[in-house]
Amino acid sequence: MNAIQTSIDPDITPAGKQAPTGAELVVSALRGQGVDMVFGYPGGTIMPLYDALPGSGLKHILVRHEQAAAFAADAYARTTGKAGVCIATSGPGATNLLTGIANAFLDSVPMVAITGQVPTSVMGTDAFQEIDIFGMSMPVVKHSFLVRRAEDIPQIIAEAFALATSGRPGPVLIDLPKDIAQTRVEKPKPAKIKKAERRAPDPVAIAGAEALLKRAKRPVLYLGGGVAKAGAVEALRRFNMLAGIPAVSTLTGLGVLPTDSGDFYGMLGMHGAKAANTLVQEADLLLVCGARFDDRATGKVDSFAPDAKVIHLDCDPAEIGKIRNAEAGVQGDLKTALESLAVGILDISPWRTRAQELRNRHTFNYNAPGAGIFAPAFLEELSRTAGDNFVATCDVGQHQMWVAQHCHFSRPEAHLTSGGLGAMGYGVPAGIGAKLASPDDCVVTVTGDGSIMMNIQELATIRRYGVALKIVLFDNSTLGLVRQWQELFYEGNFSEVDLYDNPDFAEVARAFGVEAFTVTRREQTSAAIKRLLNTRGPVLAHVRIDPRENVWPLVPPGKSNAEMMEH
């Protein structure tokens, strides 16, 4: 481990100028970390930090709810690979951030969340807007800091960024009491951090994995979100260009191999592709890269890939063996591990033929009956038309699964979704974060009539900053995925899913100053997509669909992935 200094210099105060406040140290430390954009919402205890923002060089995006700040910072991080930064005040501001922090935790997204706190003199007295966010956030952060001394701020900021971005990324919380933020610091201590080094995998473990791979007759490459987080996408693609192993991915692993790659057979799991699930069930070896055997991917664990040995590559040793035993667990940097695996061309021609047969047998059918708009076909055409710079940010529900099943992704950053937490309300603020991070991309938020209402106020943020985000709102006037489960598994007892009294979403969007239009008939699909893609500024397409439409195929809850229902 090497100790290095950050760019925070304790002697930057010019002669005659006042010593910096704690808040000013936060801002200069953020700049020192290369932060150029933050997402937040001001309030009482965080006011000293907001006082330090003007003229600081930090671009602050004022959202309309703190949860949106966290979601936008999350998407900004997923898009840029840098830590996203969000800011809120104490009490309700901090608690509103929590869902977004939890989202980043479960999807391993680097984030630094800064919350105001009541002054240290009144902490523990139930002061106005006092809440123990340091304690509340513990289960959903990689680490957290409560700042007790202003002179520690440069060190804490440096550590927070190092922790958030190293190893398995995740969110770090910094709770900043108001008096600490106001304290002037004559001699701030320079930050020293231990540079995190990527841990090389054990050569013995690599050799064990190679031996298993060379013996395998029916191997499957099982890709998770960790591949992209490790910067191992190109290494993975190079590895498999030679090895030619049929590949499947989790929800967050989509795009690691391009959707149209010949070796890619789709998403596995509950709403995965039948071919993908069948391949996994028939496999004699799983090469698992940056995935954690999430229950949505595995179905009933006891019957998941029953004949397969497992090679598990992951930077996080705690994931190896957590759900499924691994005959070869390779802990360490995924990119190095993939570059180290020397298996050459595998002799698996019959297995590859079998995989092709499965793909040909289980193609999706886009010829739905009726004259209404068929969401899967709409999405497939949308992503194909938009091309390689298409980026989807999803909300949660049926539309999220349709995006995963039917959109074409050229890279993992093209698919931003709330995977682990499954947080409705993610889509629109994530779209804002992604578009601001990468203005040249064609960023499309795909949402539903349930989800959009959870952060619809962010249309005001879109309007304020002129974010050229495209929104596709599938409106079936129901909580579709819950309705589907009630139909299939609760004997049709449709309890509290009817959203018959939704507002006119196109009118709502226009009231926020966002262009909008409504389509209802299938023959309008291509024109709607064209209008959506050709509009220069923000635009919302309100797409009415049939509430009886379900997501297929489906693995019923508690069942094996071998028991997929196809209709």
Binding site: M138, P139, S144, A205, K322, N325, G329, G332
Partner: protein
Amino acid sequence: METQTLHIEFESEEGALLRLIGLVERRGYDVRSMNLPVPSEGSMSLDVGVMARDGGRDIGVLRRQIHRLSGVRRVLGGMEHQNTSVGGQHDDA
């Protein structure tokens, strides 16, 4: 289910103990006993007796989950009962 004892060495910082015990409970274990000696020079250690709430828990996974917490230096003890081997360089075994 039997009680197993983990010996954890960690940096003395705000919230460290809460973080450790919270993790153990959230990951499916009851805390059965604790011994927290007086800290010395920024370093603390904890001996914690833990018992899994069900049969599907691997103490080796818990050990690694504790070890990945920031500020945790070493985790010793507990008998792994499954056959997963993790190839990498740890100091928690």
